[in-house]
Every structure is written in structure tokens, then in C-alpha cells.
């Protein structure tokens, strides 16, 4: 005789398995939802009792790529995870600032099929975490729309007397092409132009950022500074390779003390000096940090615009395979860029690599160029 319970007995473990899977999926969904609810409540409470904040920091950390590095003891680190920890420390130490942190993560799937959100947002005000939620990054062309949306949702109403800063931590931002910047979106391009578009979103109804920190390799080309300069008064960038340990963010802590006088230029130089000192302690490759006074470098940028543009056009015509063979160099090594205005508005902290062919190069102009390929 057929056991009337056999069907339910057979089905029970399957039901349990599926129930577990459902529970896990629900947990994932609910955890992201609950963060939203928490965010709304905390944000409302913060709005009600928070005093006006005089400092604002927007920090975008790109983590969707190869960001592994080793310290001198052989320990492994993920650059984006370290940068995130540093940004959170800065946020907690600033008792009179609002800090927006966007962590762009690799796209992952739950049980291979269910896509998980690939961005995580943190909002701190006056040293307190007010919001933490997962979000979907741009799935198409990247213009930072989701990040800008979150920024507008949480930013302080009183933007008038605020010192604003923007930080970007990631690999070199390409000047053209840009496909493959995000490992999760290999066909999607991301270029300096896309970042500039995103910055316009952040600064739409207000003045430029007072300070922009580009924690990337080759961040101070004439094109990059010229393009991003429309959104910032001062830019700190590295003309050469920048080790993945990035610029030290410690000096961004306690802005109420270090930036009390509101002198952004002096603060930028101090930030650059400390970042340089920190990098030279452990790094054997070249270390270079440059501070650009965007208004003062306009003369130089206009003088070299045509030359640099021509180089970029030439490079865009090159095959993908030959691009990596094209070298970078200090713009001062190319006669077309050696102009009286070259050093105007630029402060450079430079130490050559301890080894290699360039170890005897003692100075850097702060501007990085492409050595245009010789046409055969």
C-alpha cells in the first residue's frame, strides 16, 4: 500500500531547501529595504536637530576592477576597501561636516542568477552615520546619475557658506575610449568626460567644488585638469603612477580645525605635502603629487590646448594593441609644452623612483603628457 505520507515526506526536504533559499533571498531583499527605512527616519531626525554644516565632502571610490596591492611585509590589501575605511574615518572625525561616500563595487549575483546591487552609499553628518544603503549603479553610460540622486536627497539645504570637496579614488581615468574601466561592464566606456558630466550633476545649482582630489594614476594631464577644472577651484592629482595605497586622507579629518580660516589653497598644499610624505615612506616607485590652482593654470591650458588635442586625436587613431606601447612623460620633456606659464599655478611634490631608468630625474613640472608615436 502506498504510504499516504510518502509524498509529503519526499517533498519536505525540498520544501526546506527552497524555504531556506527563499529566506536567504528575502533576507537580502529585506536588508536593503530596511536600510532605506532607517535612512528615511534618521535623515528626518538629522534634519530636525542638526546644526548647519560648513564642510561637505563627496567621495567616490571605484572598486570594480583589479585593486589588489601588497605592502612591504607581503600583506594583501584591496585598495577600494582601504579607501572606504579611510573615508569613513574622515567622516566620523568631522563633527561639523556632511560626508557622502559612494562605493562602486563589482557586480555580483546571489546564487549565480539574482543580481545584487553594485553600489553602496554612506551618508555622515556631524560625525554620525545617518544613512547607509545599497543602490544600483548606472547600467548604461555612466554619468553618476544614481550618485547624484542620492546626493541631492541628503545634502544639507544651506549650501551657501559651505566648503565643498570632491574625492575620486580609482584607476587612471581614460581620456578617450575608456572601455573596460569597470570590470563588471567591459563594454561600457568611462572617460574623464563622463566624470566631468557627473560633477556637473553634483554642482548644478552651486559654485564649483573648492577642492578636488583625484587619487588616480596620470591625473594631471592638460586635458584632465582642463576638463575637470570647470567643476573645481583647486585640484590635487598625481602626474605619474600613483600607488594603490592612494593619497593619505588623514588631513581631511577635523576640517573645523585645519580649515578654520577657510584658506583652501593653503589646505590643499598641506594635504599634498602630507600625502607625499606618507607615500615616500613606503613606496619605491616614483611619487608625485601636484596642486593646481585652476584659475591660474588657464593661460597654460589655452596655450597647449591645440597641441595636446592633436596628440589625443592621433592616439585615438591608433590600434588598441599599440596603445599600451605609447609612453607617458613629463610635459616638460616635450618642447611644445615648455612655456613661461607652465609652472604658474602649480605646486609639485616629486621624488623619482628609487630604481629604474628614471631614478635620476630630479624634477617634474606636474603636467603629464603622451609621447606622441613616431609615424612609420
Amino acid at each position: 500500500m502506498q504510504d499516504p505520507h510518502s509524498r509529503s515526506v519526499r517533498g519536505a526536504p525540498y520544501s526546506m531547501l527552497f524555504a531556506n533559499l527563499h529566506c536567504a533571498a528575502l533576507t537580502v531583499l529585506l536588508s536593503s529595504c530596511s536600510a532605506d527605512l532607517l535612512v528615511e527616519r534618521e535623515a528626518q531626525r538629522a534634519e530636525e536637530d542638526a546644526p548647519a554644516v560648513p564642510y561637505s565632502i563627496v567621495c567616490v571610490i571605484h572598486g570594480d576592477g583589479d585593486y589588489l596591492y601588497h605592502d612591504t611585509r607581503g600583506n594583501e590589501y584591496k585598495a577600494d576597501v582601504e579607501a572606504l575605511a579611510g573615508a569613513k574615518r574622515v567622516a566620523m572625525r568631522n563633527s561639523r561636516a556632511e560626508v557622502f561616500i559612494f562605493h562602486q563595487k563589482p557586480r555580483k549575483h546571489f546564487l549565480f542568477f539574482f543580481p545584487l546591487q553594485d553600489g553602496e552609499f554612506y551618508y555622515y553628518r556631524n560625525g554620525r552615520l545617518i544613512a547607509n544603503e545599497l543602490y544600483w549603479r548606472d547600467q548604461g553610460q555612466s554619468h553618476f546619475d544614481p550618485e547624484v540622486g542620492l546626493y541631492r536627497r541628503f545634502r544639507s539645504d544651506d549650501q551657501r557658506e559651505m566648503v565643498k570637496m570632491f574625492l575620486y579614488c580609482g584607476h587612471e581615468i581614460p581620456e578617450f575610449d575608456g572601455a573596460g574601466y569597470d570590470a563588471s561592464y567591459p563594454d561600457r566606456p568611462f572617460t574623464v568626460h563622463d566624470l566631468a558630466d557627473g560633477l556637473q550633476g553634483f554642482t548644478r545649482h552651486s559654485a564649483r567644488f573648492d577642492l578636488m582630489v583625484l587619487s588616480t594614476c596620470f591625473g594631471s594631464t592638460p586635458y584632465t585638469i582642463g576638463t575637470l577644472g570647470s567643476s573645481a577651484r583647486y585640484i590635487i592629482a598625481s602626474p605619474d603612477n600613483l600607488h594603490l595605497s592612494y593619497f593619505d586622507l588623514h588631513s581631511l579629518g577635523r576640517l573645523d580645525i585645519s580649515l578654520r580660516d577657510g584658506d583652501v589653497q593653503a589646505f590643499a598644499k598641506k594635504f599634498a605635502r602630507l600625502a607625499f610624505d606618507r607615500l615616500t615612506r613606503d613606496i619605491q616607485t616614483a611619487v608625485s603629487v601636484a596642486v593646481f590652482d585652476v584659475d591660474r593654470v588657464q593661460g597654460f591650458l589655452q596655450s597647449v590646448h591645440a597641441v595636446y588635442d592633436h596628440t589625443l586625436t592621433t592616439l585615438q587613431g591608433e590600434t588598441q594593441a599599440s596603445l599600451p606601447t605609447i609612453e607617458r612623460c613629463d610635459c616638460a620633456d616635450l618642447p611644445a609644452y615648455v612655456l613661461p606659464a607652465m609652472n604658474k599655478g602649480v605646486d609639485v611634490f616629486y621624488r623619482p623612483a628609487r630604481f629604474g631608468r628614471s631614478k635620476h630625474k630630479q624634477n617634474h613640472s606636474g603636467w603629464e603628457c603622451w609621447r606622441e608615436p613616431v609615424l612609420k
Partner: protein
């Protein structure tokens, strides 16, 4: 698709052979537990197989030089330090030569491998004091090994090499070392 009649017929046929195919509750539990175990095991295996493929490539490549640097620091003798560094360069160069001869790699990867070989040759030359380089002094060998790690971590030629080719290089290194 087989309908309920098929199952009824099957059931009847087996009953006629003198044994009851209806399993007991414990047998059923055992079978179901087994199936659940297989399903769970398969999921775990898929995760385990997917992980190295995702994490491999560039990370393994970097680890190769980081491990060499750790060995250099762990050794007191400058001669041994030099030998460790030199061997790591030679093994990598050998693997790159073998990969380059493989029909599996694309033209783009070939260019990336070429550049990588040139970078390694520069470092070998500097270590030994060849080709216009001043030989790395004994007291700077630890720093030089760190320089190699850091330079390789930011080497854009590695970024341009495909994951498949990088994995192939790593496999070859393992085979050469063994």
C-alpha cells in the same frame, strides 16, 4: 512525456514480481537527504570553481612577485637575495617565452607579453648591473624587491593581457618551478 498510466503500469509490474517497490519512510528520507546533499554539494562546487577563475590572473601574478620579495627579506645573505630575485625573473621570462610561442594567445596579448618581457629584462639588467645600469647595491636589495612588486602592481602592460593568458602564464610558472 510519460503520463500517470506509465507509472501505474510500472508499479503493478513490480508488485507482480513479489516485492513492494514502495520504499519505507527511512529509505525515502535517506534518498532525499542524498539528493539534497548532491544539490548542496553542486552549489558549493560551483562557488569553489568560480572563485579561482574570478580571483586568478592578475592577482596571482602580483602574488608571484610579492612572494619573491618576502623570500628576499627573509634572507640575510645578499648573494641569496640576488639569487632569489634573479630566479624569479628568469622563471617568469621562461613562462612568457613559452606563452608567446603558444597559438592560443591573441596578437594584442602578444604585444602585452612583449612589453612585460622588456620590463623584466630591465629589472634583470639593473639587478646585475648590465646594459648601462649600475648594479643594485647589496644593502638596497630589499628595497629593490619592493620596487619590483610595486612597479608590477601598477604595470599597465599586465592590465592589457587577457585573463586566459595570465592564467596560462601562472600555470606555466608552477610547472617550471616544479
Amino acid at each position: 512525456m510519460r503520463g500517470p498510466e506509465y507509472f501505474d503500469a510500472y508499479h503493478t509490474t513490480n508488485k507482480n514480481h513479489g516485492y513492494d517497490i514502495n520504499p519505507t519512510s527511512s529509505q525515502l528520507n535517506e534518498g532525499v537527504t542524498m539528493t539534497a546533499r548532491i544539490a548542496f554539494g553542486s552549489i558549493i562546487m560551483m562557488f569553489l570553481l568560480a572563485l579561482p577563475a574570478h580571483a586568478g590572473g592578475k592577482e596571482e601574478f602580483q602574488k608571484y612577485f610579492s612572494d619573491a620579495a618576502s623570500k628576499v627579506r627573509a634572507t640575510e645573505s645578499p648573494a641569496e637575495k640576488r639569487a632569489i630575485l634573479s630566479e624569479s625573473f628568469q622563471t617568469m621570462s621562461k613562462a612568457l617565452d613559452m606563452v608567446q610561442g603558444s597559438p592560443l594567445i591573441s596578437k594584442d596579448d602578444g604585444i602585452g607579453v612583449d612589453r612585460l618581457k622588456a620590463t623584466l629584462q630591465e629589472k634583470q639588467d639593473e639587478l646585475a648591473g648590465n646594459n648601462g645600469y649600475v648594479r643594485v647595491p647589496d644593502e638596497q636589495l630589499n628595497a629593490f624587491s619592493d620596487y619590483v612588486v610595486q612597479d608590477m602592481e601598477q604595470a599597465d602592460q599586465i592590465i592589457t593581457i587577457s585573463l586566459v593568458t595570465l592564467l596560462l602564464i601562472i600555470i606555466l610558472i608552477v610547472l617550471i618551478v616544479k
